[in-house]
């Protein structure tokens, strides 16, 4: 029997729990220790130490300390408080900086700065009125938190970090399509978009039906919003049903039709003999789809697309999601709503939206596993569409639930297919009220988290990976999530000039591994999209609140398992004994090897 190899890490360290209001991404890397603050290679101090600044901690009250700012972060450490309160905030998470109080302010700690962050917290600092310390700090923060608005470069381009692995090689589209068994007799790989001429927001390599000519593709592109034609995302290895993604058809008020588009969709349908009707999932609510006709968009009409059925999934647009998250922040930060927690939570609709996205993805996955092909689109096919296809793929294909596979999934469905990260997150941009900003990607990660909760042994990665991804979604330390699409990334030479998040993550794989991952042979995992099972991701959304003990169950289980399995030292003794006796079992040998290698206890089964 083949040995199932999975790696287990029991991180016995409790270093994180020491900090009360502390940045969660705990970067214990080769940081240069400079003046008691670890700096990243390429990180430079842009402002000296400011003494006599007061951090108004919403949980422990005002704390006096020192602050200093680099081109990457804002660092605060308290003086005369034990244990020290530290803040380590990458400037990228700052969404807004404001002065509070004026010269006439009287109240205690009423004069200072108010910083709104993208990661569910606000920071307030009180300063002395004398001198120009506030103006200085404000100007520096404003400049370096929003470098693009000031003609500066994002930190990712300044970073000098080096890692063993090059994370940019994690995703190779041809390799990934080959893994899926493509090209085959029905689907071909096309380089038609090599110069982003067909569609400037799509990747260069696309998979299209074999029987559709390049000319057909060009014609279809004219009828799809921004030329985002239906292309293949995933193919079922057995029944050959496919998930294809695209943008809305340009039907408009007059109800235009396009023969090429209609024929193209029928070609897609015909690639799979079992599909008598192609299912088109329009992620939007019906009314929104109708409203889009006014601006030239629309949906596939019944008459025009005879062999297709259209299903609306009722997922709302970016504005609704943004407002929902705003409401959620209101009830969890700084204090958790006490008297009517549940009804307040309900009124944010955040989990309701999660439910809709998940149940949409379930429907997509269900169609595919019953053997019929689907087309997924929303308006432009880069927000809701990415959520639906990637979640459905996560349910259908266990590869995407592995540590590597998940990275590939993000690179493929989100990054390469042009989810507008730059616009949705607003990297380095001072315009905090930009209507293009929206937590679509966060919502997706939340859905993934919900799945990991429901299937605690099905994912090779753990919650820390999800949190790290979200932290670096904002941090601007890595190039991975910068820019809106591949063409923009190419133009800015992102792969050349920045480090990939995966270089960082993969250099510390052990920290992000779920010790309870079990390779399962069940192919499809359907989460339950009922409010009974959906819960608020407390360890992300409320992580800044020390009162809510970080009840990361897995963390608990890990630490308790360490107890159960015996202390590290005991194990080392065991391993020593084992080796002295020259154990022959392969299993045992790997057990030894791993035991010796890590400071942390590693068990290899």
């Amino acid at each position: 029997m083949a040995e199932i190899e999975s790696c287990f890490v029991f991180n016995a360290s409790t270093k994180q729990s020491i900090f009360l209001c502390f940045q969660a991404s705990n970067e214990s890397l080769k940081m240069e220790l400079l003046a008691d603050v670890p700096l990243l290679p390429g990180e430079e101090r842009v402002i000296g130490k400011y003494k006599d600044i007061i951090y108004i901690c919403p949980f422990n009250g005002p704390v006096k300390g020192r602050v200093f700012i680099t081109n990457y972060r804002l660092f605060f450490r308290s003086v005369d408080v034990d244990p020290a309160v530290t803040l380590n905030v990458p400037l990228g998470v700052i969404s807004r900086v404001e002065k509070m109080g004026g010269a006439s302010s009287r109240g205690e700690n009423s004069y200072g700065l108010d910083i709104t962050c993208k990661d569910m917290r606000n920071l307030r600092f009180a300063l002395k009125q004398e001198g120009h310390s506030r103006r200085d700090i404000f100007d520096i923060l404003f400049r370096y938190a929003f470098p693009l608005s000031h003609g500066l470069q994002l930190f990712a381009f300044l970073s000098q970090e080096k890692y063993q692995e090059n994370g940019w090689t994690v995703y190779n589209p041809v390799q990934e399509f080959r893994r899926q068994g493509l090209p085959n007799d029905q689907w071909r790989i096309t380089f038609l978009n090599n110069n982003y001429e067909l569609c400037d927001t799509y990747p260069t390599i696309l998979v299209v039906p074999y029987s559709a000519s390049d000319e057909d593709l060009r014609k279809v592109a004219t009828f799809r919003s921004r030329g985002r034609i239906p292309v293949l995302s995933w193919i079922h290895p057995e029944n050959q049903a496919v998930i294809t993604r695209c943008s809305q058809p340009l039907v408009g008020m007059s109800g235009k039709r396009n023969r090429d588009d209609e024929r193209y969709l029928d070609i897609i349908r015909a690639t799979n003999k079992m599909t008598s009707k192609l299912t088109i999932f329009d992620a939007r609510p019906n009314v929104n789809a109708v409203a889009n006709k006014a601006t030239g968009g629309g949906y596939e009409g019944e008459d025009a697309y005879q062999n297709a059925e259209l299903v609306f999934l009722d997922i709302h647009n970016i504005h609704v999601m943004r407002e929902s998250l705003k409401k959620l922040k209101d009830i969890v930060y700084p204090n958790v709503e006490e008297s009517h927690w549940l009804s307040s939570l309900e009124s944010t609709h955040w989990l309701e939206h999660i439910k809709l996205v998940l149940s949409g993805a379930i429907q997509v996955a269900d169609k595919i596993s019953t053997g019929s092909s689907v087309v997924v689109h929303c308006s432009d096919g880069w927000d809701r569409t990415a959520q639906l296809t990637s979640l459905a793929m996560l349910m259908l294909d266990s590869y995407y639930r592995t540590f590597r596979g998940f990275q590939v999934l993000l690179e493929k469905e989100w990054i390469s297919f042009g989810h507008k990260f730059a616009s949705r997150i607003g990297h380095g941009d001072k315009n905090h009220a930009d209507a293009d900003r929206s937590p679509i990607f966060l919502q997706f990660i939340d859905c993934v988290w919900q799945m990991t909760k429901q299937f605690p042994t099905a994912f090779e990665f753990n919650e820390r990976l999800l949190v790290a991804v979200l932290d670096h979604l904002y941090s601007c330390r890595f190039g991975t999530f910068l820019y809106n699409c591949e063409s923009a990334r190419d133009a800015n030479e992102v792969k050349m000039k920045t480090v990939s998040l995966w270089s960082f993550i993969n250099s510390d794989r052990a920290s992000y591994i779920n010790p309870f991952y079990t390779v399962e042979f069940v192919h499809v995992l359907y989460p339950v999209a009922s409010m009974r099972h959906l819960e608020l991701w407390v360890s992300y959304y409320i992580r800044w609140n020390p009162r809510i003990r970080q009840q990361v169950r897995k963390g608990q289980i890990c630490s308790s398992s360490t107890h159960l399995l015996g202390s590290t030292s005991q194990d080392h003794i065991c391993i020593l004994q084992l080796c002295q006796r020259g154990c022959t079992s392969v299993k045992m040998r790997s057990y030894c090897k791993m035991g010796f290698n890590g400071v942390e206890m590693l068990l290899y089964f």
């Binding site: 429907q363 809106n484 999209a529 608990q556």
Partner: protein, 762 residues
């Protein structure tokens, strides 16, 4: 007594093949081998023909179980059945249960049933487990109350069980008289008032001999002897007086035979108010202070008695105070906690969310789930109890004052709070045996009115209240917050909560030790044999085999390692006297404690004001309790030390295993907490094996409790495992059918074309 239904008596064992086939066919759609009969709808089958061909199956009766009536064919409608046609079979009503026996061969049932209850199967409903019966017509249902039944019978009955199962039986296919008989039988035995002796436990135990060796094997301390109490006091290093004067219930019928009081309580005090007002020792803190509970006296009455009440109460308070450092805090629990009626009402609302009749209804209710949950108030009641327990813990742990909790009977909320306090403070009560002993000590010996609260006899609905369940709920909250601290699992708590309604166990049958003693005694006199030997719920072998019992242990439990096992901290003198000056003790300081030499002033105080709340006003309580919690939270977590629950909104949750296990819509196939548990058990087994190989000299026990049951089984896990094993491993996902369409928040509906704006890049 045995009155088999008309159809029932005939069949016998003959014609197994043919009869079975036809029966299966009439089941419609679920027969493994479709025969020509399958295509005929049940209505078309001639009833008499059916009767002849049917092979009557009977439930496997327990000792002392007799069938009252039966009827067939009865259609059981199943929720997870896509065809919605159901299964045909016979329905029986015995003195123990309502039992449905399917006509189909139940091969599938055997496989994968690791967690089989020996007393009742998945199609059995113990009579005491029936919560409500409805008559179903069209898509509606109407509650059936006792006495409302005349000669009619509905074509469909819906039974809601106390363990949250829902059964739907269609009576339309049975002969009219059978249907009438079974319906009236069920209603009679489940809803009409009856006498205690009709409860199945009595017929059961007459026939069964529960060897006392079985009982002695149990490590659970039963608290029915002097020794048990003495040992408990010794274990906690308590310094109180063990009283045996009530051994024959001469002092009071409300008090247990043996109990412990402060040293200063004298013999005369016992008899004064029939045991009311006596501070009963619950548990001693290692500092020396202790927790007491009492059935409070009506102090406010202005009749002649009130004076003697007051002086008596003063003396009792004094006695408690003298136990340790002359400090006492008293708490009249009903003043700040919900009444038993509130608890009952709230739970009634709450449980409705899980008694779902069909999928449409389920998804309808899903939309407003959180606010409905909040409106039921159930989680809030749990929060209040946990908070109150934390307050008491604070007094014992932080201030080292004695605490006396009071309540009219001293056997409802007093039990909840005192046992919660002990679970939080004493790791012994977080072990399986310790927890069971705690239930014996505080609930069984403590005289919780199980019989009234469970309302087995259908007498007074006003007295019914799920107080014990509330306690289990609170423990579950602690368990899910600090899993490694508990030796028992969530499954154990769920099973325990189910066992309350099985009506076989002496544990839950009586209102007090006196009630138990008097009920058991006369039988023995008549029959001239030893007193009735009713099984206790703690003898789990009555319900489960050892493999199933493995699910009761929590694989996450961190046993205390040997070197950690330091003796309990001995008395730690804490000079508190100077802290609490009598002048401020009653007026402003929330921390009331007093000296012996202050008794005079105390007496004066008592005359004008009753000492009830120690912490007042409530804001102050909250803030100190919050500080206490936060201070505790800052310390590293010790699973063998004090545990305090987080009671913030996001921390309190719904006990998913208990409440969601029967709902097909929310089964997570291939997922759920059990998958994690299984993995952990597998890992542990493997580590043990490795260890065993490593260490030549030491013989390692390879089997681990919990490992055996899970590791070997190839059962498909789901979130409802082990309670519900789906036969139709459904690859069909549940797709929410009723999504809220009005999510659009105002202005954004028309802004759909967000994405159509110009792309900023390139």
């Amino acid at each position: 007594m045995l009155s088999g239904g008309g159809g029932g008596s005939g069949g016998g064992g003959g014609g197994a093949g043919g009869g079975g086939g036809a029966g299966g066919g009439s089941g419609g759609g679920r027969s493994p081998k479709p025969s020509f009969v399958s295509y005929v709808t049940p209505e078309e089958i001639n009833l008499t023909e059916k009767e002849i061909s049917r092979k009557e199956k009977q439930p496997d009766l327990l000792q002392g179980e007799v069938i009252f009536c039966s009827a067939s064919p009865i259609r059981k409608c199943t929720q997870d059945d896509f065809s919605q046609r159901g299964i045909f079979g016979s329905l029986f009503c015995t003195n123990f249960r309502i039992s449905f026996i399917s006509d189909e061969t139940q091969l599938e049932e055997e496989e994968g049933q690791v967690f089989k209850n020996k007393l009742y199967g998945e199609n059995d409903i113990p009579l005491t487990c029936v919560d409500n019966i409805y008559r179903g017509f069209d898509e509606k249902k109407k509650l059936i109350t006792s006495g409302s039944v005349r000669n009619k019978y509905p074509s469909k009955i819906i039974i809601h069980c106390k363990d949250l199962r829902v059964f739907q039986f269609s009576l339309a296919f049975a002969k009219e008289e059978d249907a009438k008989k079974i319906f009236q039988g069920i209603v009679h035995h489940c809803l009409e008032p009856k006498s205690l002796k009709c409860i199945f436990a009595f017929s059961y135990s007459e026939k069964m001999t529960f060897s006392s060796e079985n009982q002695t094997k149990l490590k659970t301390v039963m608290f029915d002897s002097m020794v048990d109490w003495a040992q408990e006091m010794k274990r906690t290093k308590g310094n109180c007086k063990l009283v045996s004067a009530n051994a024959d219930f001469n002092i009071s019928t409300k008090l247990p035979q043996f109990f412990i009081v402060p040293l200063a309580v004298s013999e005369e005090d016992f008899t004064q108010f029939q045991g009311k007002g006596i501070p009963i020792w619950c548990w001693s803190h290692h500092s020396g202070c202790a927790l007491f509970k009492t059935a409070s006296l009506p102090l406010m009455q202005e009749d002649g008695c009130s004076q003697s009440y007051r002086t008596y109460m003063e003396r009792m308070l004094n006695a408690v105070a003298q136990n340790h450092l002359y400090s006492v805090k008293t708490e009249e629990l009903p003043e700040t906690l919900p009444t038993i009626q509130d608890i009952q009402q709230s739970y009634n609302k709450f449980k409705q969310f899980f008694l779902v009749d069909n999928t449409t209804e389920f998804w309808m209710s899903d939309v407003k789930w959180f606010s409905s949950l909040e409106n039921s108030g159930w989680l809030d009641i749990i929060r209040q109890c946990l908070t109150k327990a934390v307050e008491v813990v604070e007094c014992l742990e932080n201030e080292n004052t004695n605490v006396l909790i009071m309540e009219e009977e001293g056997s409802d909320l007093c039990c909840v709070i005192s046992s919660l306090v002990q679970v939080m403070l004493d790791p012994h009560f977080r072990t399986l045996e310790g927890f069971q002993s705690l239930v014996q000590k505080e609930w069984v010996a403590g005289g919780h009115h199980f019989l009234d609260r469970c309302n087995y006899l259908h007498k007074d609905k006003e007295l019914q209240s799920p107080v014990f369940l509330l306690f289990l709920e609170c423990v579950w909250q602690l368990l899910q917050q600090y899993a490694p601290a508990f030796q028992f699992s969530e499954t154990y708590l769920t099973v325990l909560s189910d066992s309350v309604d099985v009506s076989v166990f002496s544990t839950f049958l009586f209102n007090s030790p006196h009630h138990r003693a008097t009920t058991i005694q006369p039988v023995s006199l008549l029959a001239q044999k030893g007193p009735l030997n009713l099984p206790t719920v703690w003898d789990w072998s009555v319900q489960f085999n050892s493999a199933a019992q493995d699910f009761f242990t929590n694989p996450l439990y961190v046993e205390k390692s040997r070197q950690d096992k330091v003796p309990r901290k001995t008395f730690r003198p804490k000079h508190q006297r100077h802290q609490s000056l009598p002048s401020t003790a009653f007026k402003s300081s929330p921390k009331k404690s007093f000296f012996k030499d202050e008794t005079d002033s105390l007496k004066k105080m008592l005359r004008v004001k009753r000492i009830s709340r120690w912490l007042n006003p409530t804001d102050l309580t909250q803030s100190t309790t919050r500080e206490f919690y936060e201070a505790w939270q800052r310390k590293p977590l010790d699973y063998h030390g004090l545990l305090l629950p987080c009671v913030d909104g996001p921390a309190l949750r719904v006990w998913a295993q208990r409440y969601l296990r029967w709902l097909p819509e929310v089964q997570i196939f291939g997922g759920g907490a059990m998958t994690l548990e299984k993995k952990l058990v597998d890992l542990l087994a493997e580590v043990r094996e490795l260890r065993g190989k490593l260490d030549w000299h030491c013989s390692v026990d390879f089997s681990h409790r919990g490992a055996a049951a899970l590791a070997g089984s190839s059962v498909r896990l789901s979130s409802a495992f082990p309670f519900f094993v789906s036969r139709t491993w459904s690859f069909k996902p549940a797709i929410p059918s009723c999504l809220q369409k009005n999510l659009i928040t105002g202005t954004f509906a028309d802004k759909e074309d967000e994405d159509s704006e110009c792309l900023g890049v390139i």
